[in-house]
């Protein structure tokens, strides 16, 4: 086969060379072609918009006469922080798989079942607290490992896999608790700990901060974290620059599960009892926070600092609304709306970033 080459008559050739610019000129135009300094002010505004919004709602609820006195009190701040421990932990746990483009829906259920597991151990078997800590964390890691193996080894869809695991764990919780709350025999060391304070803030919050710092370091300051963002960007390219894609994706599920397992114990500490709740009520505010966080600090990417701002934003908004006398059902509406807005906004950011090409 050959190319059908149409010899065109040379005399018909008409050349209209209208303008010759010097090489220097053309080089100058093409270097100036790339993005002007558009990311100075706008970029800054984009990065800190969520933080600004958080400050704004705090001011609004403080000035609001119905909510103001209570909202701004140290008691309320501590109560909100203490109450949101598990949500914050699950949000941190969710960041890891999300960075690589995978979602873990089982984190809420992992947390809830870890809570029931430790309560059951203490209540029914008198297991010492330290053992419970180890069991909870190990249980979370195991659930994460299972999810990770399913997703990376057997190439199952992470959405369906983790949803299945969440449903399964929810069922086991129902079966084990029989729908009853376990409140007897919970270690008082644990419950007392949740009321103790450090530098005026609940100690459980300090634990969240420590884990957030570790998560931030892992994601932003290590080759491992950078490899996760690379995998999230393009797994095939990541493989071809020598990154251990499958191992690292599996590790994100294990890390997430471990944090969720620990979150279960902290939730037991805060609540003092274990309900038969399946953990969905924890997962959605956490996801809302993570997706909101992806619009801040490093817009378009899931990140730890943004996630923490997201958690604060979601929890203090709900607290303010409740204190303003709005029906308590509003928190579900708010969390759902925040999740939708956040997903919409970060998708928009992603699209815009790609469109810049």
């Amino acid at each position: 086969m050959s190319i059908t080459n149409e010899p065109v008559t040379q005399e018909a050739a008409a050349m209209t060379n209208t303008e010759q610019s010097t090489p220097a000129e053309s080089a100058a135009t093409s270097t100036g072609r790339h993005r002007p300094s558009s990311h100075s002010f706008l970029g800054f505004a984009e990065r800190y918009a969520l933080l600004g919004l958080f400050v704004l709602i705090c001011i609004v609820f403080t000035l609001n006469p119905t909510s103001g006195d209570v909202f701004a009190s140290m008691n309320n701040v501590n109560a909100v922080l203490r109450g949101q421990t598990a949500v914050a932990m699950i949000a941190l746990a969710a960041v890891f798989p999300l960075v690589t483009g995978n979602i873990d829906f089982s984190l809420g259920a992992t947390c809830a079942s870890s809570m029931v597991l430790s309560a059951g151990l203490m209540s029914n078997h008198g297991t010492p607290l330290l053992v419970c800590v180890v069991v909870c964390v190990a249980f979370g890691a195991l659930v994460g490992l299972f999810n990770g193996v399913m997703v990376t080894r057997f190439r199952l869809d992470p959405f369906v896999t983790t949803l299945g695991v969440a449903t399964l764990l929810g069922g086991v919780i129902q079966w084990y608790t029989g729908g009853q709350t376990i409140y007897q025999g919970i270690s008082t060391t644990l419950t007392d700990f949740s009321y103790s304070k450090i530098a005026g803030l609940p100690q459980v919050t300090a634990i969240v901060v420590v884990i957030a710092v570790v998560a931030w370091y892992l994601l932003a300051q290590t080759p491992f974290g950078r490899s996760l963002y690379a995998i999230g960007s393009n797994p095939e390219s990541a493989k071809l620059v020598g990154l251990p894609v499958r191992r690292n994706v599996m590790l994100t599920f294990v890390l997430g599960g471990t944090i969720a397992g620990a979150a279960g114990l902290l939730r037991l500490a805060v609540q003092g009892s274990a309900t038969s709740d399946s953990g969905t009520s924890l997962l959605f505010p956490a996801l809302a926070a993570v997706f909101l966080g992806a619009t801040a600090i490093r817009p378009g990417f899931f990140n730890v600092v943004g996630t923490m701002i997201g958690v604060l934003f979601v929890s203090f908004s709900v607290s303010g609304l409740t204190l303003s006398g709005v029906d308590s059902a509003v928190q579900y509406v708010f969390n759902g709306a925040a999740l939708l807005v956040a997903v919409g906004f970060s998708t928009y950011l992603g699209i815009r970033r790609r469109a810049r090409g």
Binding site: I3, M15, E19, S30, Y217, T222, S227, G357
Partner: protein, 526 residues
């Protein structure tokens, strides 16, 4: 800077499509500056230009992806204002686009792909009339010389046929438009992902379409292909139309000169081999994928071309050396030491680097920054317990950007803010900063404009001069000859010929490559 004057060579009556005064700004950048274009009916019109010349932007304006700031479009006597030109107008004007990414659904059949575009024929409003659909699609396919079953899934077609299916799909309503209004086919880099013989096949068909009266606007980086098929040429530079050649047969050098705006001799690389006697890479009896026992050597500083038809295993060879595929048999060694990579990371430790064929899918981290893309092969070197050394990373990135002549606003710019050629330079820099012992290049200048191509060749030669052994797999005969000291042809899974590049010209090489097919076809018929 003055606007491009009217183009006197084209008369009013003889245009199927004409654009005038097309201007488009992106922020402070003037992407198109009163550009113009006039396409005669029934011709293949090539649109040429380097990176940032505005040719892609003008196509995007026609496809209504971007809205112009000023400009008039005339198609079939109807005038359109390009400031408010939308996709409905584009379709009504008879413009049909086939982009580099063909937009086909790989797992679905040809017929389903057609129907998803034009609608499924329904019976009683519910049931799909499959027989009717298949019949109609078969007749459309036949008219485009595609003699395949419409039930064939797209991913079972050969690459040239896939492009042809996309073209046929784009033009499927051609005969149904009763008023005889002819469609204009716009092809954006149709051959960019095709091997040479596939693109030859495709271009021959495009040529025949034009001979039957189809008007075609063709955007391509591959100069030799454009020359073989186009009647008219419009050259863009810095957002302006700098030349229009009607019914012309310019030489490649003339075109490059128009695109570059300077004499082409300076751009031509000087081929001087830096091959030394020291053996860098040795492959013996390698069996992997379609490879059935490859023996190959590359010396220090040598650039070896790997030629072969599609499916011959060029990419498999590179990927096996890179540890991405496991060989079924055979041995490899680098610098005399056995090279048995367990994975890509293992091959990298042995000093191997690979620039893969499909930049977008296999090399780019599109939404990350240029610095991120550069650092990915040496993340560990930036790490200490105090975290990633961001400053060192930025400094190294900045240096690489200038060393490799990358046009980019800085290390923090998104990877996709650069043109294809500059993206490819970044991928090369990503690997060359590691000073690899063996550099594997798979179609290194695919989708790269002429100007960047010259920079890339120079970079590869410089790496060879510093002692890297380079293996270049390419379907572009002139590229292999411009770059390599030696070319091996893979045929039937083995190294069939080992040729000195200096003794060849592109026609020789193409002939040798194609002979492989004819020989095989004779074998099959016998």
């Amino acid at each position: 800077m003055t606007a491009a004057p009217d183009l006197p060579t084209v008369t009013e009556g003889a245009t199927a499509l004409s654009i005038s005064g097309l201007t488009k700004r992106f922020g402070a950048t003037l992407a198109l500056d009163e550009a113009s274009l006039a396409v005669r009916p029934g011709t293949v019109h090539a649109l040429l230009g380097g990176n940032g010349s505005g040719k892609s932007t003008s196509i995007k304006v026609l496809a209504a992806v971007h809205q112009a700031d000023a400009g008039q479009l005339t198609v079939g006597g109807r005038e359109y204002d390009l400031r408010s030109f939308d996709s409905v107008d584009a379709r009504a004007a008879g413009l049909r686009f086939v982009h580099q990414d063909l937009g086909l659904f790989d797992g679905l059949s040809i017929a389903e792909n057609f129907a998803l575009d034009a609608g499924f024929p329904l019976q009683a409003g519910t049931r799909i009339r499959w027989a009717h659909l298949h019949e109609r699609v078969t007749s459309v396919l036949d008219s485009y010389e595609l003699h395949v079953d419409p039930r064939t899934p797209i991913n079972e077609l050969r690459p040239a046929d896939r492009t042809m299916v996309a073209i046929a799909r784009a033009l499927q309503d051609a005969d149904t438009s009763a008023d005889g209004e002819s469609l204009i086919l716009v092809l954006d880099e149709p051959t960019a992902s095709l091997a040479q013989h596939e693109s030859a096949l495709l271009l021959a068909r495009i040529r025949r379409l034009a001979d039957q009266g189809q008007t075609v606007v063709l955007v391509s980086h591959r100069m030799s292909e454009v020359l073989s098929v186009a009647d008219d040429f419009t050259i863009f530079r810095d957002g302006r139309t700098v030349a229009t050649l009607v019914d012309a047969s310019p030489t490649e050098d003339e075109l490059v000169e128009l695109m570059a705006g300077r004499a082409v001799d300076a751009l031509r690389p000087v081929a001087a081999s830096s091959a030394a006697d020291e053996l860098r890479l040795e492959v013996r009896g390698l069996v992997s994928g379609p490879l059935a026992g490859i023996d190959l050597q590359a010396r220090r500083g040598e650039i070896v071309g790997v030629a072969g038809l599609v499916g011959s295993g060029r990419s498999s060879l590179l990927r096996t050396i890179f540890g991405d595929l496991s060989p079924r048999a055979g041995t490899m060694s680098i610098n005399g030491r056995p090279h048995v990579p367990r994975d890509v990371a293992g091959a990298m430790r042995d000093g191997v680097a690979l620039v893969p064929e499909d930049r977008g899918r296999e090399a780019a981290f599109a939404d990350l920054t240029i610095a991120d893309n550069l650092s990915m092969t040496r993340l560990r070197t930036y790490w200490s317990w105090r975290g990633m050394n961001a400053r060192a990373e930025q400094d190294v990135s900045r240096r690489l950007i200038s060393d490799f002549r990358v046009k980019a606003s800085g290390p923090a710019a998104p990877f996709t803010s650069m043109s294809g050629g500059n993206q490819q330079k970044v991928i090369l820099a990503r690997w060359l900063q590691r000073d690899p012992a063996v550099l594997l290049l798979d179609e290194p200048t695919q989708g790269v404009d002429v100007m960047s191509r010259v920079d890339i060749y120079r970079t590869v030669r410089e790496a060879a001069r510093r002692g890297t052994a380079v293996l270049v797999a390419s379907s572009d005969a002139s590229e292999l000859l411009a770059l390599c000291d030696r070319i091996v042809i893979i045929r039937e899974g083995r190294v069939d010929e080992d040729l000195d590049a200096e003794t060849l010209d592109p026609d020789d090489l193409t002939r040798k490559l194609l002979r492989a097919t004819s020989v095989r076809q004779e074998d099959e018929t016998a």
